[in-house]
């Protein structure tokens, strides 16, 4: 979406938190902006939902605005009225980028309308394409209700007791349906990232979520000749949305999918701070090349090693997990343990989830979690 927005902007632009500047279709990036090292115009401090004007310390104008949900900065501009104090040299350098507020406002409004129309068209197409997903969910309802009646016929006072007394095949079937349900939920979040934060956050025993997923994936891992096991101990239950399960689903699914035969997938879950939990999933398989580690969480991106190793995969899973992680205030990190030239080695995906204000999850973005737990 960002690329589309920037390609339709007449003015040079950038996005907060990134150092990259892009020319507009009418005005280019001035040399003085290209040479600027600090780029205060791209600071995340200047976020604004409406069009807001500022002057950078050098004297050039920049605007903060939001197109859809994307923060954009229009940079390297010279406003006849608002840049009265602009030094002569810079004024000369920016002579091709003269604008006035009305022009900028008009361009932003036009773009917002265009992007809104595009968004509506995409939503319509997505809705049509996903109508089948709703039918699958409806069919799954029937399977659930039938299974509940089967389980009810077993002895026991609680559902848990009844399930424990059920045949192995019935328990296997229940686990398969649970896995199907998790995949359907994950697909819904992939289609609508806002769904990652639907509902109330509930205190969630992280160990139990991952342990359940390990049990669901055990048959698939066994068929592939991969051993999968839990490790560590955790009693913390930080608040999380129902979507949190998708993180477990995606990371364990990926680990099993790309693990080499006769290797182990280990899911380590352990308490860290009083209210935070660290999770690390390690597996042995093709490594993500260093140049690609930042891109593996991008939507639709499949690393070269992933493409070569497993035919299936759409590059959506890790992106969906990252969306859910962000909804919970943490990032998922990747690290490889292997000699620099190796193509195969130990892969680790890890994160820290914490209760708000406990400071635990902050460690992921400040470097504390960049070391893989052993």
């Amino acid at each position: 979406m960002l690329e589309i927005i920037q390609s339709l902007l007449p003015f040079p632009s950038g996005v907060p938190g990134s150092a990259e500047l892009r020319a507009g279709w009418r005005h280019s990036v001035p040399l003085s902006c290209r040479k600027c090292r600090d780029r205060p115009c791209l600071s995340t401090e200047h976020a604004a939902d409406h069009l807001s004007h500022r002057v950078c310390p050098r004297g050039a104008s920049f605007y903060s605005t939001q197109i859809g949900s994307t923060d954009v900065r229009l940079i390297g501009l010279l406003d006849a009225e608002l840049n009265a104090d602009c030094p002569k040299g810079l004024r000369r350098a920016l002579r091709d980028n003269r604008v006035n507020v009305a022009d900028v406002q008009q361009a932003v409004t036009d773009l917002q309308e265009r992007m809104g129309a595009l968004d509506r068209a995409v939503s319509h197409d997505v809705r049509e394409a996903l109508a089948g997903l709703h039918d699958v969910k409806t069919a799954t309802n029937v399977v659930y209700r039938c299974m509940e009646e089967v389980v009810a016929s077993y002895d026991g006072t609680t559902d848990v007791e009844k399930i424990e007394r059920a045949d192995v095949s019935i328990r296997g079937l229940l686990e398969s349906i649970a896995l199907l349900k998790s995949r359907l939920d994950s697909a819904s979040i992939a289609a609508n990232p806002a769904a990652a934060a639907y509902g109330q956050q509930r205190n969630t025993p992280v160990y139990r979520v991952f342990h359940r997923m390990v049990k669901l994936f055990a048959p698939l891992a066994r068929d592939k000749g991969v051993r999968i096991a839990m490790s560590g101990a955790s009693y913390n239950a930080p608040p999380a949305y129902a979507s949190f399960e998708t993180v477990a689903l995606v990371l364990i699914d990926n680990a099993v999918k790309y693990a080499l035969r006769n290797t182990d997938v280990v899911v380590l879950v352990r308490d860290e701070h009083p209210a935070s939990v660290r999770v690390c999933i390690t597996s042995v398989g093709p490594l993500v090349p260093e140049a690609e580690t930042d891109r593996i969480f991008e939507r639709g991106y499949r690393g070269t090693s992933a493409t070569g190793y497993a035919a299936s995969g759409s590059g959506i899973g890790l992106h969906t997990a990252a969306v859910v992680a962000r909804a919970h205030g943490f990032d998922i990190r990747y690290a490889a343990r292997a000699p620099a030239t190796a193509e195969v080695g130990e892969n680790a995906f890890f994160f820290v989830i914490a209760a708000p204000g406990s400071g635990g999850a902050g460690a992921t973005t400040t470097g504390g979690a960049s070391s893989v737990p052993s």
């Binding site: 939503s123 659930y144 509940e148 559902d159 359907l184 509902g199 129902a242």
Partner: protein, 218 residues
Amino acid sequence: MWPFQRQKLSDVSLEVPLEELRKRARIAVVDDDLNAFPLRVLVREGYAIDYFPSVTQLDPFERGLYDIIFLDIAGVAPEWSEDDGLAVLEHLKERNPAQVIVAFSGQTFDLSKSRFWKLADDTLSKPVDAMTAKRCIDDLLARTMTPNHYWGGVRALLLSEGVPEREIASIESAVVRAVTRRTRPDVRGVVERVCANAETIAKVAALVAKIAGLLGPP
């Protein structure tokens, strides 16, 4: 406590066990698909659940007859509005802010339905198993079947009628006095003095009755 300070419902301790809340709670499930909700399992577990394939009448939902309403978004109220379940949710929240509504749908993937999910007190996405539904109900009962939650609804109703905070605090005090004396709080007269809307008065009385039901003898 300062002797002349007005008493608040938050000062009155409440310890109604979850088992008791489960017995008292009335739950409605509105969904055109009978298989969507684990009705049979949860009824066997002792929950009082009424099932509605569609919204034929709004009145039982408006009156606050149900403690929790599980509401589907599609196919439950097409004759009421193009927005179907979303329109019902908006209407009920407007009429009775204390009404607990769970958005219950399989259409979490639909970006255009975001408002439905955000307006609701909680969400449950389909397909759902009995254990998840039970956890959702128990959590909501513990969170919302409280005097404070119902009082929040009374406050919102009175504020929407322009009743000053001072009068609202005075009504709250009257409710607290009644429930601590183990008598039935009759706030109709007090509310009628500050609010002329008969519908709002009836809603306030219904919510106060719920508070009394929770704090009074079982």
